[in-house]
Symmetry: C2
Subunit: 329 residues, 2 copies
Amino acid sequence: MEDVARLAGVSHQTVSRVLNAHPNVSAQTRERVEQAIRELGYRRNTAARSLVTRRSQTIGVLGSDMSHYGPANTLLGVQQAARDKGYFVSMASLNEVTPVAIQDALEYFMMQSVDGIVVIVPHEAMFESLSTISMAVPLVAVGFGVDERLSVAAVNQRMGASLAVQHLVDLGHTAIAHVSGPPDWIDAAARIDGWRRTLAQAELDDSVLIRGNWSAESGYRAGLELAAAGKVTALFAANDQMALGALRAFSEAGLRVPQDISLVGYDDQPEAAYLVPPLTTVNQGFKELGARCMQMLLFDMANGHSGASSVVNPRLVVRSTTAPPHTAR
Amino acid sequence: MEDVARLAGVSHQTVSRVLNAHPNVSAQTRERVEQAIRELGYRRNTAARSLVTRRSQTIGVLGSDMSHYGPANTLLGVQQAARDKGYFVSMASLNEVTPVAIQDALEYFMMQSVDGIVVIVPHEAMFESLSTISMAVPLVAVGFGVDERLSVAAVNQRMGASLAVQHLVDLGHTAIAHVSGPPDWIDAAARIDGWRRTLAQAELDDSVLIRGNWSAESGYRAGLELAAAGKVTALFAANDQMALGALRAFSEAGLRVPQDISLVGYDDQPEAAYLVPPLTTVNQGFKELGARCMQMLLFDMANGHSGASSVVNPRLVVRSTTAPPHTAR
DNA sequence: TCCCCCTAAGTTAGCGCTAACAATTAGCTT
DNA sequence: AAGCTAATTGTTAGCGCTAACTTAGGGGGA
């Protein structure tokens, strides 16, 4: 910085002011300094800066199940939003969701003196751990229910499920099944709940619930089961992969989609538009979720813990796997 | 640190010595200091430490395609290894593999003054970009071929493919097909090559190559195609998902696995053991890969750029989808 | 016994930056 | 024209740590 100052013929403090966009620098000086910075390829030393400002410009992201579409994309969304806001992202991932592992990971972030933490661990167990821990830095949890002890950013899963189911109801379906994710996943539970409530509101039967595990395989098995029973005209799958499995099962069983049975997925994975037929599904907007996370975290970092929540509304994407029941060819 | 020193009745430098495991501290003093640290819950300030030592204890991990099994698990492996070695992990992910995006991400890491960089971008295009860039900090690339300009840690994909194909050859198969990944992925190309070479060595035909895209869907289509043609008795799929798709296609086509057709996957994803029948596949050892990455990076960080390479050998996991051709029931 | 050396501490300086304050200049107002 | 304000720049101190140097106390060999 001293070198830059010398080259620009100013003091190091003026260079600092230029870098921090301080208002009281004349346009001419600013230009000279910027020129010198470019010329020398100067980069500010983060450590020195952190030492005096007492912020690291780093946020910690704690994750688990990163091989799944939801968590992986939430991480990407948060990462992108953080980078856009000038923050660095440090990550730690949990192999197992236990209090000890969580504690360790948080300790690791404290050692790094992160300015804030985002938690992407979509299990009920995490919520319990988190709500008993008192944190030294702001923390935003992704996907949990509203709770004043925690700042939360989430996609409204119940609404997403409602959107899907209501769409089927509106088309005239009266027997609508659901293949769910593992119920210890918060999102899976919320989607089951949304499915159930929407059916209740329409005074329809909610007895056909099949427990899946997110895999195409489990969707396939569910599809086979439903085709054999022949009791429903529509299926709401808790993710696109299970929908894909079901699609195959239906085709094997000689059921045409959507003429004989309608199908709605969840996630709007890129391939959803390219299935045959293209899958009606629910888009969760992970970019938006990531941006909201950062926004909340920045707010909490500025004003202290808020316990607020920010809910992103999912969007139904209607493609070709849904139609009124028993459509003539 | 001053507080700790006061409580332990020593100078702050002695505290520093204890924290850095300096030899010239008496056991008794060390104990007193450690006690004081525990009592006060003291944590060393990373920024101050970085400022004087000129290292950030942070490595940057540049990734892409994090929704795929390989990249995601490599990231996890590197992350774990880094944490074990006392390093923090900063991540940046690429939405598109272009020189500009790569340059931006590397610049971002330089701003953070990372001590080293790991690149997990399994595309040919990345290799070209990287080998023209000269880096200010050590960089280890994952999965590229050996090249003295780059330090590389990789799984020996050709060997993995060989293991799979040789296993089929040893069982007596003479017509062995391959469903590959997209050929701009380095791993996909290497597996094709391994398949081809092993067949050549056994003087077998390598004409049945089907280009897949990693998805179960593409494996399914390949399976259908092969079943219809009826020319091969074995299929080597470039990942487990495609193997899964093929498995279903074979079953639809009335082909029994392994009696009528043998199948080998690649990746050894957790679910591979639970397919029906359990899938013979190739295990890549991402933990080991991550550890090797860190080991090389640490070496390069200590001794300057090495251009060395470290190759992890994959392991064939024989389960139930492979058998000699045309086995009687 | 004396001196030297080795061990276990303490003291000092400075890493590169920003905040707070001080100083200078220019531009008004009266 | 004196005096005041505002805008711009410079000077100084210190963030919390480690490296390098300094000091104080014991042994052990001559």
